[in-house]
Symmetry: C2
Subunit: 354 residues, 2 copies
């Protein structure tokens, strides 16, 4: 390791020396605080740009006695699907990296099937007066109301996993649903010949959620239309998650339409469909979403052929980091960050890091 040169003045001190002022005044200018004459302000700013001064963030965080607090609001884990385990891991990863920098993360959770819990938790969150907020806006109206308040209070927030474009937030980090459906179309086009049919299956209880699934369906249909592939594409909705509901909905289709070659499940519930296909020994290809334990099991057994994933861990990790960059580093952050659309099979899932 090499010692630093017997240091000439640098940083804030050197600026102060050149400007013939104290470092406190330099600090004021750097942070655009009031109470500096225009003249010295200009002089100092000139020196700053001459020197291409970059503040030492280590020293900044160390000297500052402030703790920055970021709050997160996402669905709680357990119950119907384990999807939200991954974003939680991403938050925790960011947390452990940022603790070093004196940043604290406070986590709040709501029940995906109960919008009241969303309202309640969002109020609780606000009472903690965080400096920034990460939020999964599962309930659109409620989320809009909440973020309206955030804006009033000048608390920056980022959306993950699904966007509410009208709301001007710091940024959105998540998938482009239409494009992921389009990719599914691309993939499936390799898996069917011209006289085979495709069955799109939306499995959801929540009406709002269905809205998201339809975007993927539109993407898939657009791919086939754009490429003049005239395969029959059917869609069914399954409104309950139990095996019987799945069975009755699917068996109707598969028995009536013997040409169905691929089933495309538009969300992470693909394991339920896999379960049915396996039990009834249906020999169709199956494509669905998300790296969940139950899905991976069926992938491994060869019942699910492809899973489309969008790095849920990273979504949340990046969301927190964007707040950090905005709050601590004053960096400008991209206002929309679309996640990669990953294709997972039995042979690469073990290497899928996230």
């Amino acid at each position: 390791m090499k010692k630093k040169l017997p240091t000439e003045l640098s940083g804030i001190k050197e600026i102060a020396r050149r400007a013939n002022v104290s470092i406190a005044t330099v600090d004021r200018v750097i942070h655009k605080r009031t109470g500096v004459s225009l003249k010295t302000r200009d002089k100092i700013n000139k020196i700053i740009s001459d020197l291409d001064y970059q503040p030492n963030l280590l020293a900044r965080r160390l000297a500052s006695r402030k703790t920055i607090r970021i709050a997160t609001l996402i669905p709680k884990i357990g119950g119907e699907s384990s999807f939200w385990e991954a974003p939680l891991r991403g938050i925790e990863q960011a947390e452990s990296e940022l603790r070093q920098m004196g940043i604290i993360i406070e986590k709040f959770f709501f029940d995906q099937e109960d919008s009241e819990t969303f309202i309640k938790q969002s109020r609780l969150l606000l009472r903690h007066e965080p400096d920034g907020i990460l939020i999964a806006p599962s309930f659109v109206d409620e989320a809009i109301e909440f973020t309206t308040t955030c804006k009033e209070r000048h608390i920056p927030f980022v959306y993950i996993n699904s966007d509410i474009p009208e709301q001007k937030s710091l940024c959105y980090i998540g998938p482009d649903l239409y494009r992921s459906g389009y990719l599914a179309g691309n993939l499936i086009s390799y898996l069917v010949n011209d006289n085979q049919e495709i069955l799109i299956t939306n499995v959801t209880k929540e009406l709002e959620d269905r809205h998201h699934l339809v975007r993927k369906e539109e993407g898939l249909r657009a791919y086939f239309a754009d490429h003049k592939r005239n395969n029959v594409i059917r869609t069914i909705d399954v409104l309950q998650f139990d095996a019987d509901s799945i069975e009755s909905a699917l068996s109707l289709q598969l028995n009536e339409n013997k040409n169905i070659g691929v089933v495309f499940v538009t969300n992470s519930r693909v394991a339920s469909v896999a379960n049915y296909l396996k039990s009834f020994n249906h020999d169709v290809l199956l494509v669905g979403y998300d790296f969940l334990k139950e899905n991976i099991e069926y992938l491994n057994e060869g019942v699910i052929d492809f899973l489309i994933c969008q790095k849920p861990v990273e979504q949340a990790y990046r969301g927190v980091m964007s707040l950090y960059q905005h709050l601590v580093l004053s960096t400008t952050v991209e206002d929309i960050y679309l996640m990669p659309i990953d294709i997972i099979t039995k042979e690469n899932y073990a290497y899928y890091r996230n």
Copy 2:
């Protein structure tokens, strides 16, 4: 933002208070320096573990006048393939993040077709006495000789992109070649019916490099064998990169074997093959490697169907970061980090972040 509580002593000071020694002594114990009596050493260590003391790395780096220097040795860009642009970007990204922490990166480059340049640059690198080294061991024997010296001098090093397992290094970060071939087999198995043939194409000049390509070939063949698919699989080697060599090698195969349904190129030279297939209007599917500009163009045109990628930017980024973790944070790092095996198509490449 919330102010810190009117701070009770913490960190090194609190330890010193409890142990009834000065902070200098505590510092000595923390850094396992000599010159502390066993008794006080034990006492201090006990307090440290009682308190679950975590050093403040900001303060550490700030107070320390040392600059840590990491050297990198990778192929230079330009000439035959643009592959190494990506790892260079990864290095530069790590560089910009680590500058904050007072870490400097010195980059060295060699010519992939000239092992002498590797030797020369590696010597030059050593004369700079870096604290850690990142290296792409393209020339196996030369790399072993070099890293032997590193070990003698106790300079930790990490391999990226290809491994030399016998050499005990800090870690390897890169692809598992066999597994990526196996995945290619998995993917291609969906693209061919039972009477179609597969043509594996190795395009390379260097004998050592061919060794790597064969691992992928073995993976693909193993997939078909394991799954009792009896498609004919042929292999050809193309030893020159010019269009004529490619043409003569491929046209022979494709004209003699009309059943070839998929061509699998085992490295990033797939664009050359695409160029040929396009000119001669061959209607076969094409699968290859790596997110290079020229490959993406053919992907976009529909000549290349699938590219397998292994995040070259991230490989190098992680490599540098591993050295940082080892050198600065004294974290233990995984000694082997295998990259994800990503499947890229025309419809998701735009979202492939790296």
